[in-house]
Symmetry: C2
Subunit: 458 residues, 2 copies
Amino acid sequence: MAVGKRILVVGGVAAGPSAASKAARTNPDAHVTLFELTDTISYGICEIPFFLAGEVRQEDLVVHTPASLGKEKGVEVRTLQLVESISTARRTIVVREVATGRVYEERFDRLVLATGARPRPLNLAGEQARNVFPVRSYDGACALRRYLETEHPRNVVIVGGGYIGIEMAEALRSRECEVTVLERRNEILHDLDAPARAFVADILARRGVRLVAGAQVVALPVDASQRVSHVLTPDGSYPADLVIVATGVIPATELAGTAGIRLGTRGGILVDQRMQTSVDGIFAAGDCCEYRDIVTRKWVYAPLATNANRAGWVAGQNAAGGRAAFPGVLRSTALRVFDGEVARTGLTAEEARDAGLHVVAETITSRSRVPVMPGSAPLSVSLTAEHETGRILGGTLWGTEGAVLRSHALAVALHQGMTLEQFQKTDFAYAPPFSPLWDPLLIAANALEKLRTHGTRP
Amino acid sequence: MAVGKRILVVGGVAAGPSAASKAARTNPDAHVTLFELTDTISYGICEIPFFLAGEVRQEDLVVHTPASLGKEKGVEVRTLQLVESISTARRTIVVREVATGRVYEERFDRLVLATGARPRPLNLAGEQARNVFPVRSYDGACALRRYLETEHPRNVVIVGGGYIGIEMAEALRSRECEVTVLERRNEILHDLDAPARAFVADILARRGVRLVAGAQVVALPVDASQRVSHVLTPDGSYPADLVIVATGVIPATELAGTAGIRLGTRGGILVDQRMQTSVDGIFAAGDCCEYRDIVTRKWVYAPLATNANRAGWVAGQNAAGGRAAFPGVLRSTALRVFDGEVARTGLTAEEARDAGLHVVAETITSRSRVPVMPGSAPLSVSLTAEHETGRILGGTLWGTEGAVLRSHALAVALHQGMTLEQFQKTDFAYAPPFSPLWDPLLIAANALEKLRTHGTRP
């Protein structure tokens, strides 16, 4: 297969610019063009809660302008272009120029789809009211910040108790709002271990954030000023000057689906290790894709910026004739919540059981530093392993310091399929201001290995 | 080979108590006895600089008393006992009771030697003066703290610019002393990469610590009050109210050597993966041993508390009839120096070249958090890999936050023999308050892989 010279990338933000830059770098002879519907091609979507809290300035959200991506990375950028369809037979895309309505066709040798995701709608009247905001786009974030600074909302209702919902709760609490989080499931942060969820819930309660679990929003009544005044659930009514919808995202894959590219059960594009779709020469990366879970080898939908960047990089390299493999995802995630931090990587015990694995799991609480050192704080580690083999399946860490960066070691161990017995002998750097002599990760591995082999707790 | 019922352990502090506890746990039918020359069997030797700085209280230095080790771990403890010799033929040790002078013999089925190390002497008259202190023992640390609090020394000279010397410099600077560090080599912290050394040297200079490299101490003149008044080098004379000797340690292996147990070129006991010495049934662990370097598989002397504890644990388990293997050491070390932190694991580029490897190395400077986040600070990573294969050989990290805990991930990668290409695709947990989207570890791996494969810098 000849190396593609004409590489088109559809979509900005994270995977698209990553793929385009890497393609241009991999094959300097290729002509790489990036198409984006909005006029912002690359910004820090994960920084939006911190921008809304006032910790990050608006101009600092932008990572690359169309000009800088062109100049620094050698990518032609076309903004305000809607890619309407793909002809897999003719190897072309049909593009509509938003400003003029002009429709034109572009030929490709290789195509990278990075069409991203869109907020999961509530499908309720009132969702389009002027005080209801999803948290998904640069423009939306700027509009929300303007709203905060001009309207000074007092009562804020956040619909959704996932990572974004919790980060938004902190951001708005820091603006002195009264914040209520409504979560339709029975718990917030459902992909964390139960004690980690309790840790976060406790911090939120102490900081005056009201959490309501099992709260399915059923109506968003709109008043005469075209604003939602209350958020209604079967069990209560929550007054709202502002409603944030943080109910997650769904892959934006109409373009791929219509072109006959194979989608998964979650609606994401299915890709091989090279990030190639079911159509030869068409690659995909980012929130429009499903990925293989490294631990279970099953398909998962994990719309995270880290995955988008790593996968975009692999897609871009392969689109330009390189040979790169994407190993899959661990769904590693980190969360700061006020003075607390939480990280997870791999599977929780519940997820491992759901995947049909026979598991052992243990939670230990150690310290972030040698216990007698100033600043030493509790640090908890929850580990899950396969019962028969001792292979580590996942872990969650939480505390007020040292949780997130410690999870890095566990991520490497999961990529390598390490057992508890191998992991528990790791030679970690140590000094009293940074960890106990036996790092909490090792204490957790030792405890779980004991439980696994002897059925006893240390 | 029958499981030993009578297990004797020689030496306290770290490896000895670790081995004794693990042996008693592994075989509850065994009788485990620990012999220690002093009356302190287990204390936090790494906390001594922080104790001297006033950050840690004296009572908090003690980890286990003889009574607590007996009660909690089921180990018989005999303090103030000097083990004088081993008969490998008769399977006995000869012990002298310090208080009475009584000499007695004890039979063993298994013996664990944890005789530790002693300060490397300067071999100069004046070394025993009452204002000259090594940094090695609990008693010594307590005596030094009393000296500081009663004599209020102003001019302090620290001989030795290794980890302990630097930690002591900070401790004494925090007590408002004028601190001079004399290092006989041409640089402090010789086992760090040059830019990491420069980072530490810069912090020390800003904090008013005077560093003198290439300064070989040749005399310690003693005044009428039996104190050293000056420290003399060929190039200068340094007034001293207090002299700290931190020139490293040498293995204390006379007992083993006299018994015919095989020693290495650095004077340490040589052990196999089970921590067994050249004599069947006699194990060793801790600062009296040499270990295999995981990266080079060569013998190294790495007297660190982490190694002592991990190796003691393996020795104790095997002495009690268990089956455990010690994978070797990475010489992972961490250092806090005022507001800076440094960690290394595996080989530096220089060490790798000395080991005969064909290496590529690269240093990058990224940030500890997303650059635009409050608190984001420079974070540097220096990585070394094998040129032909891309196998990671080692790394050093430094900055004001996030360096030490990030080194944990690298340690796991080194244990696993990972290549840059494997490592650069790790799915690390990410949120803007904890790291850039591409973690500095990944940026470093990407940069070095580019250099390795294309000979270019990114």
